[in-house]
């Protein structure tokens, strides 16, 4: 009686009146076939709750069909041999597949290595797992857990031992010993701290933060080192600009962006009236949020946009923050045009560029830096 209900419902039993399937087949099941009653019952079926059951299954619960065993052995062997195939393929690919950059087919090098290594590893791995599942004897066994907590006697003895040892040191009575020990050990803990000093050049920290590479009269160079002239840009153009000082191209805090727009669109305050020239305006690109370069410029909306955390700045209005986590405007570089028509900086930025820090003042006057 171990067929499932469904199995027995499928095939009409011998004492059925009809044969050959279809709806007219009569069920051979009778009400006696059911061990329990029905869905109305408020008591559970006549089933048991095995208590403290040893869940051990006898070793012969899977009668080993010799054919099945042989099939399993062959499968495991084949999987292990697959590993050999994989390694051979790997070595062959390693040597023979084109590897040099630009050679025809070199883009297949790494995929070939990956495929064959995966093949080899799968062979060994799957072989081991199939072996364990189909051929090894894998009965469920039980082990008892012991109490993790030690018994009270043990605990008491340990506690007593510690207490006794502590008393033998004499510490409880000798407060001078104890206090000086604590003081000495505490002092030792401070020993590593002086080693931190020369980790970084922290001299004049706030001055370093407040200055960039721009100096009064620095020409504005583009990324290829050419000075930018009035007339180079059209309305709607942008140019990355760097100070004309040694190493200016690489200075992390000096990079700026020159934008040209219609002059009448600029809404600069009085104090910054002469910081822009004929609609040419220059802002620091170091985002005041976390320092990413704010290089995205939308020509029609005049928005500057930072790709890292999506702060939006209004280029017509002193790079005021319109959206996003940045809390301050981008600093503006005051520029002028020299006699030859090249753009020059009037001086350094009027405030520290980049993200905020504790020592940064509340506000900075619109006075060009030196």
């Amino acid at each position: 009686m171990t067929d499932s209900i469904r199995d027995r419902l499928k095939a009409p039993a011998g004492h059925g009146e009809q044969s050959g399937g279809g709806d007219t087949a009569q069920s051979s099941l009778t009400t006696n076939d059911f061990v329990q009653t029905d869905s109305r019952s408020s008591h559970g079926p006549e089933q048991t709750v095995p208590a403290a059951v040893p869940a051990v299954v006898p070793a012969d619960v899977h009668p080993r069909d010799p054919k099945a065993v042989q099939r399993a052995e062959r499968l495991v062997a084949a999987l292990f041999l697959l590993a050999v195939v994989g390694v051979v393929g790997f070595v062959v690919s390693f040597i023979l597949v084109p590897f040099d950059f630009g050679d025809e087919g070199f883009e297949y090098y790494t995929p070939a290595l990956g495929f064959f290594m995966a093949l080899a590893l799968t062979g060994v791995g799957a072989g081991a797992v199939v072996w364990a599942k189909t051929l090894m004897v894998d009965n469920e066994v039980i082990a008892e857990r012991h109490d993790l907590a030690s018994d009270p006697q043990e605990r008491a003895e340990t506690a007593a031992l510690i207490k006794q040892g502590y008393e033998e040191t004499g510490l409880p009575r000798r407060s001078m010993l104890r206090n000086s020990m604590l003081l000495g050990a505490g002092a030792l803990a401070l020993l590593p701290l002086p080693f931190l000093k020369d980790l970084g050049k922290t001299k004049n920290l706030t001055e370093q933060m407040a200055k960039t590479g721009w100096r009064p009269g620095s020409k504005l160079l583009d990324e290829l080192g050419r000075p930018v002239k009035l007339g180079d840009l059209e309305i709607g153009s942008v140019r990355s600009v760097f100070p004309d000082v040694p190493g200016g191209r690489r200075m992390a805090d000096s990079a700026a962006l020159m934008i040209r727009m219609q002059p009448e669109l600029l809404k600069s305050p009085e104090s910054r009236k002469d910081w822009a020239v004929d609609g040419h305006i220059v802002y620091s690109v170091i985002c005041t949020h976390l320092g990413c370069p704010v290089k995205l410029y939308e020509q029609q909306t005049h928005h500057l946009f930072c790709p890292c955390h999506q702060s939006i700045f209004d280029a017509t209005n002193s790079a005021k923050v319109l959206f996003g986590p940045a809390a301050r405007n981008l600093p503006q570089l005051a520029i002028a045009v020299d006699e030859e028509g090249y753009f020059v900086a009037q001086g350094d930025f009027n405030e520290p560029v980049g993200p905020s820090y504790w020592e940064r003042d509340d506000s900075y006057p619109d006075k060009v830096g030196t």
């Binding site: 950059f101 070199f106 883009e107 599942k133 290829l224 709607g236 290089k295 995205l296 020509q299 939006i312």
Partner: protein
């Protein structure tokens, strides 16, 4: 003086005076006469402009005005140059199908020849940026990469796969852009893209950038397997869960199942 001698001289001098006058007038006219189209093959060019005008009137004038002066639906095209037309029309952005925060790329409505005609017409109206002759994609690859990273990657992503701008606008992917489109886009600064004059990026530098863009979006064979879209770490993270953990969970189900 005898009468006959005098009349012969005066007849001769009047003919000479007439000839001189005609030569003078003819020469002056050739030298100073207004010729709007200064093309090499003047005849072909004016045909292109004529055809272009017809195409314009049919397909563009509703929004851009009968004389490209602008209208309710579109800005003035005077002075935008043939480059603008080549960019907008060959990428299919124009004619605009319906209003959107940004004109999307789509299948071009006009073929290459027609696009050239439209471009010639618009150029004839007020000048503007034009594509240089010769190849546009044979610049220095290394220089192009460096310039691309400084000027373009911040909007278009390191591999030209595009990026987000504010409020539904976007810097499009460059994977389908032809060389002339890329060059023209740099020159003209379509929609919110800034423009890069020849004084900012010389034609050689523009060609270098075009070369790099074509290389990184089309030519380059990517080593190391499938690129996962080249959007950076986001698809990589998705892949490790979907493919890596997915496969491994299937494996653990297999191992853990008791037959």
């Amino acid at each position: 003086m005898p009468k006959t001698q005098r009349s012969r001289r005066s007849r001769f001098s009047s003919y000479a005076a007439l000839l001189l006058a005609l030569t003078l007038v003819g020469g002056l006219y050739s030298a100073f006469g207004a010729s709007k189209v200064k093309a090499e093959d003047g005849a072909n060019q004016s045909i292109a402009v004529k055809e272009g005008r017809q195409l314009y009137l049919q397909g563009c004038s509703t929004c851009h005005g009968l004389n490209a002066e602008g209208g309710a639906g579109g800005p003035s095209l005077i002075g935008v140059g043939s480059s603008s037309v080549i960019f907008q029309v060959s990428s299919g952005r124009m004619p605009l199908a319906n209003a959107a925060p940004q004109a999307p790329r789509k299948k071009a409505k006009y073929g290459a020849a027609q696009t050239q005609q439209l471009a010639a017409y618009i150029q004839s109206l007020g000048g503007g940026p034009e594509l240089p002759s010769g190849r546009l994609d044979d610049g220095d690859l290394v220089l192009g990469g460096d310039l691309f990273r400084t000027n373009c990657a911040s909007c278009h992503n390191f591999a030209g796969r595009g990026g987000a701008l504010t409020r539904s606008k976007y810097a499009p992917a460059l994977t389908e852009s032809e060389a002339d489109e890329i060059y023209a886009a740099m020159q003209t600064g379509p929609e919110n893209m800034p423009r890069f004059t020849d004084n900012q990026l010389t034609p050689d530098e523009k060609r270098a950038i075009v070369r790099y863009v074509r290389y990184v979006t089309q030519e380059a064979k990517q080593p190391g397997g499938a690129g996962l879209g080249q959007y950076g770490p986001v698809p990589e993270g998705l892949a490790v869960f979907l493919i890596g953990m997915g496969l491994l969970i299937v494996v653990t189900l297999w191992i853990g199942a008791r037959a």
